[in-house]
């Protein structure tokens, strides 16, 4: 597991209240501490029953749920919460990493799935993207970040009023980055959401795609807008 990045580089969408259901005491403590360092508040439940009770009572922004827990397994906790009308976004943590394990997890009501061992930067980025207060952008048709503007309907991109021509994939890449502007987006998140593949490419193919995109949206403009977050991923941030 890796240490969280210094907060100076990451602009957070405010502080989140996170519920961590994890039976490994040490891992849970680490997560609590790491989330706190990243500016969030995390509560820990050591087993499924406690987790269910806390989730049912409290108002959390995101839940991180270990799949295998004593007293009640993660998937059944999620299913029970969903059937009670709880729509809090859930990230499932699991040592099981098969494609269909992921499918089962998402079908049970999970919103994202991360296989152990994971990098904390990856977990943090995913949790922040899951935060429902940050995902209100889904419905917007035009994304604006600084002087960059993307129209989802006409598929046009402008920066400072200047038209930028993008390939279809570059458009989707930028669309995803802009939807999560101000949040760290990892390479695997990009591969999953832009290419719909869930494996780790051997070479950092994503980096080359991003640097191409960066060339198109930054070349000829003063200010950088697409930032590389070392050890974590990328972030689109205006101004």
């Amino acid at each position: 597991m890796t240490a969280p990045q210094p907060s100076s580089e990451i602009a957070y969408n405010g502080s989140m209240k996170i519920l961590v259901m994890e039976d490994d005491r040490e891992a849970a403590d680490y997560l609590q501490k790491a989330f706190a360092e990243a500016g969030h508040t995390a509560h820990v439940a050591g087993d499924g029953e406690t987790g269910f009770a806390l989730a049912d009572a409290g108002d959390y922004d995101v839940m991180v749920v270990d799949r295998l827990m004593p007293r009640r397994d993660g998937l059944s906790v999620i299913a029970a919460l969903r059937s009670r009308g709880n729509t809090t976004p859930v990230l499932i943590l699991s040592a099981l990493g098969e494609v269909d394990d992921r499918v089962t997890g998402l079908r049970a009501g999970g919103d994202d799935y991360l296989t152990k061992p994971y990098a904390f930067s990856e977990l943090l980025a995913r949790v922040e993207v899951l935060n429902r207060r940050a995902s209100a952008r889904e419905s917007e048709t035009v994304y604006r970040v600084g002087d960059l503007e993307l129209d989802r309907l006409s598929h046009s991109v402008k920066r400072a009023g200047r038209e930028i021509t993008l390939q279809p994939r570059e458009f989707r890449l930028l669309e995803y980055l802009m939807r999560h502007a101000g949040q760290v987006v990892t390479r695997t998140m990009l591969l999953e959401n832009v290419w719909d593949y869930h494996f780790d490419p051997q070479t950092n193919v994503i980096d080359v795609h991003v640097s191409r995109l960066r060339g198109k949206i930054e070349k000829g403009f003063d200010k950088p807008i697409l930032h590389t977050i070392r050890g974590a991923g990328y972030m689109l941030k205006g101004g």
Binding site: V99, A119, Q202, V205, H209
Partner: protein, 492 residues
């Protein structure tokens, strides 16, 4: 091995032979009984016919001269050696003449054929008995007066007879001794007993030899398996070459053992490789942390060291994930979901994904693929396999003599779909090396310097096996062609 009876009885061979022996004996007994009763009936019928003839002759004599002639004829016939039984008695049952001295009471009371064989005594046979018992009896004792032949002597004979009542109310009995059929029956029963005895003995002998032979074979098989269980996985079960059930069993078990040995060997190789390929970066990781702690450094140095540590552990996690995935795919119980996959779309996805990388490396990435080509499979897995192969091809084409080029070609050949990734680099000239390239962690000497876990091709191979397909490495002169072959039908 001691061959005690309970031990023998525990063998399947012994049990089976005992069962067969029992069934066979039962059949033999039934057959012999049937034969005996049939021949006895035939003999009885023959006897009755003889008696009938006799009676006809006597009847003619009676018609000719009445009772005196009949008596004379009877007396004459009675004296002939081996004669039939003759008896003439008065209405009260008092014996008047004939060669029967005494017979079972009640035999002459009912007319017609005697219903069952009866015992009797001829004249001359009972003399000794009578002398011994005082000989006070009349020479012509009344039939049924208690001078029962069965009670006075054991030497009675059995006979069947026809009892007739003459017109003057006198009784005539004509009979025949049953000695012959009874001897026949005795012979049969002796033969039967002997046959059964011999059968039993033969059975036990066969049982002993066959059972022992089977026992020996089974024992040698269990000895061999004990040795193998003891850890000698190279041991094999004995095959005699007879081609019988034991040989077939041994051959199958040997094939199984070979497979186990192979898997075991694979496992050993993997653990060796894990030891090497995971321990090396772990050691590096540890050394770096130690070195950073030991000296006095600026914050920036710590930062760099930590970043290096993160990169290193990410690589470790990747390697670890790949190992897990390969073993799950190879174990074959993987429940990865399959469905229709458009290979043409997968090709364009992966090529599009790698196009910038290729361009940056100065490699021309070309594609030839039909509009759409759908198979049943797992899109994620196929995408991963293809991207590993394309990744490799781009890396290894950079040392090409001419412009580096990677061609991805998807086409249908016969009843296979071939997805070939061909580069024009140095390839793998050595056939043996090419064959080894898909083994886990094998990184041919030249590629040691390249980054990567050495698992890319192994994972691709495992994925192809999962899809009932093949992964072949062919020379492309120059360069290498990695061909994924999918069967057109039956992919899970």
């Amino acid at each position: 091995m001691a061959l005690s009876l309970p031990a023998i009885m525990k063998t399947t061979a012994a049990r089976l032979s005992a069962l067969y022996l029992l069934l066979f004996a039962l059949c033999a007994v039934l057959l012999v009984l049937y034969m005996t009763s049939l021949s006895a009936r035939m003999l009885t019928a023959q006897t009755q016919e003889t008696i009938n003839d006799e009676v006809l002759g006597l009847a003619r004599a009676y018609q000719r001269g009445g009772l005196p002639v009949l008596v004379r004829v009877v007396e004459a016939r009675s004296r002939q050696p081996g004669a039939n039984l003759y008896l003439i008695a008065d209405a009260n049952g008092q014996i008047l003449t004939g060669n029967v001295q005494s017979l079972e009471p009640g035999v002459i009371e009912t007319e017609g054929w005697t219903t069952e064989p009866f015992s009797y005594r001829r004249f001359g046979e009972g003399e000794l008995d009578r002398l011994r018992s005082g000989a006070t009896d009349q020479p012509t004792p009344q039939a049924g007066d208690g001078n029962n032949p069965q009670s006075t002597g054991e030497k009675g004979h059995n006979a069947i007879a026809l009892v007739l009542r003459l017109p003057n109310q006198m009784i005539m009995l004509v009979g025949r001794d049953l000695g012959e059929p009874e001897r026949f029956r005795a012979v049969i029963s002796r033969a039967l007993t002997l046959a059964l005895g011999m059968m039993g003995l033969g059975g036990i002998l066969i049982w002993f030899f066959v059972g022992r032979a089977a026992l020996k074979r089974i024992d040698s098989v269990s000895d061999a398996s004990r040795r193998i269980m003891g850890g000698d996985l190279s041991g094999r079960l004995p095959v005699t070459g007879a081609g019988d059930e034991f040989d077939r069993l041994s051959e199958n078990l040997n094939t199984m053992l070979a497979r186990i040995a192979m898997l075991n060997e694979g496992l050993k190789q993997v653990s060796d490789n894990i030891a090497h390929d995971l321990k090396t970066p772990l050691t590096r990781l540890r050394n770096r942390a130690e070195a950073t702690l030991a000296g006095r450094h600026k914050t920036e140095d710590y930062r760099q060291a930590l970043e290096g540590t993160i990169a290193e552990s990410d690589q470790l996690i990747k390697t670890f994930n790949a190992i897990l995935m390969i073993s799950r795919l190879e174990a074959g119980y993987s429940s990865e979901q399959t469905g229709p996959v458009d290979l043409a779309a997968t090709v364009s996805d992966v090529v599009e994904l790698y196009e910038p990388v290729a361009e940056e490396a100065g490699v021309a990435l070309e594609t030839t693929a039909p509009e759409a080509l759908t198979i049943n499979g797992n899109r994620e897995l196929i995408g991963q396999a293809l991207s590993n192969i394309v990744d490799n091809a781009i890396k290894y084409s950079t040392d090409a003599a001419e412009t580096p080029k990677v061609r991805v070609a998807l086409e249908r050949v016969g009843n296979e779909i071939k997805l070939a990734v061909t580069d024009n680099g140095h390839g793998i000239p050595d056939n043996a090396d090419r064959a080894r390239a898909t083994e886990r962690f094998v990184r041919l000497e030249k590629s040691r310097s390249q980054p990567g876990s050495g698992l890319g091709l192994s994972l691709a191979k495992a994925i192809m096996t999962f899809h009932n397909g093949r992964l072949d490495l062919l020379p492309a002169n120059p360069g290498l062609s990695v061909v994924m072959s999918f069967p057109l039908r039956e992919t899970h």
